[in-house]
């Protein structure tokens, strides 16, 4: 089910994407609405799951993780749960940060990771491969990345809905 958002909702989202700590009263005065209206809209969008939470956008490189890598894992499907547990243990023991996703396609798990040192990728590869249910693993270390944030902008998404 697609949730419906209108112009006011999208303006609230836009302000909160730019500054996630903005108070309801600040948003209200910026948009010329009442604080209650803003709160109502915010709660409605949170309840609908459109707004899933809030976070800090940080410079991961400055936090000690200047490298990014991708790993695709093909593992025995009936044993995926154990493989995921294994990957989480690898994360803990090697001070690497992973995001783990189920995927459909060549791999059944996809890992996006940030690293302190490129050699950590090799360590992670070896450690993950050690699990008997891991069949194949492919890894790529990013050397240069371009971002197209405009493709994620709300205008783009709203156009899509219409």
């Amino acid at each position: 089910m697609l949730a419906k958002i209108d112009k006011l909702d999208s303006e609230i989202i836009r302000l909160l994407q730019e500054d996630g700590r903005m108070s309801f009263s600040e948003i209200a005065s910026t948009l010329g609405k009442t604080k209650e209206t803003v709160a109502k809209r915010f709660n409605k969008m949170t309840k609908a799951g459109i707004i899933s939470g809030s976070t800090l956008l940080v410079d991961v490189a400055k936090l000690g993780y200047p490298y990014r890598a991708h790993i695709g894992v093909r593992a025995i499907h009936t044993d995926l749960k154990n493989v995921i547990d294994h990957i989480k243990r690898v994360e803990k023991t090697n001070s690497i940060k992973f995001d783990v996703y189920f995927t459909l396609g060549k791999h059944n798990l996809y890992l996006y990771m940030v690293l302190t040192d490129p050699s950590d990728l090799l360590k992670a590869k070896q450690a993950i491969r050690a699990h008997p249910s891991v069949i194949e693993l492919e890894a790529d270390l990013e050397t240069e990345t371009s971002y197209f944030p405009e493709n994620l902008s709300l205008e783009h998404i709203m156009r899509k809905i219409e």
């Binding site: 707004i51 809030s54 976070t55 990771m113």
Partner: protein
């Protein structure tokens, strides 16, 4: 450089950026002023780029991401990268070292959208091999902290 207290503040705000500073202060056993001062410093040093709300892509029309792993002909000139970057659904594009040459992350909304996207990529000259993984938003295992940072990267003028 950041110390243990800074990293605790970052960690708390990463899971909920709207937590009042007074509550963080209480939790860490320091004063609200200290939290405010440290937060402002982290922002000034651009370690914290900004707090932001997170949006569920699947609730507003995107069913997921397609991750394309591409190999390009080494002799190819000009690079197909420029054309790739014009594919409208591309969110990030990375040159990489390893089993592939390029990794592209693209959003899609419907299976028709995905088909079009795949065709569009396949037509770019210089691409000799393409593999795709479909990542459905409902299939997320861990909280996507890093991925969000990755997709919602600083705007170019902030870099």
């Amino acid at each position: 450089m950041i110390d243990e207290t800074d990293s605790q503040i970052v960690s708390i705000l990463s899971s909920d950026a709207r937590v009042p500073f007074s509550r963080i202060a209480k939790k860490l056993g320091i004063s609200t002023d200290t939290v405010t001062r440290r937060y402002n410093r982290l922002r000034a040093e651009k370690i914290i780029l900004r707090p932001s709300i997170t949006i569920s892509a699947n609730k507003i029309g995107y069913d997921g991401y397609a991750i394309f792993f591409l190999k390009i002909a080494s002799s190819r000139n000009p690079d197909p990268q420029e054309q790739l970057s014009k594919v409208k659904n591309t969110v990030t594009l990375s040159k990489s070292m390893g089993d592939h040459d390029l990794v592209a992350l693209c959003l899609f909304s419907t299976s028709e959208d995905l088909k079009q996207l795949t065709n569009e990529l396949a037509e770019i000259p210089g691409i000799i091999d393409m593999e795709v993984n479909i990542l459905l938003s409902q299939m997320q295992i861990t909280i996507p902290e890093n991925i969000i940072q990755y997709f919602a990267m600083p705007k170019r003028d902030e870099e």
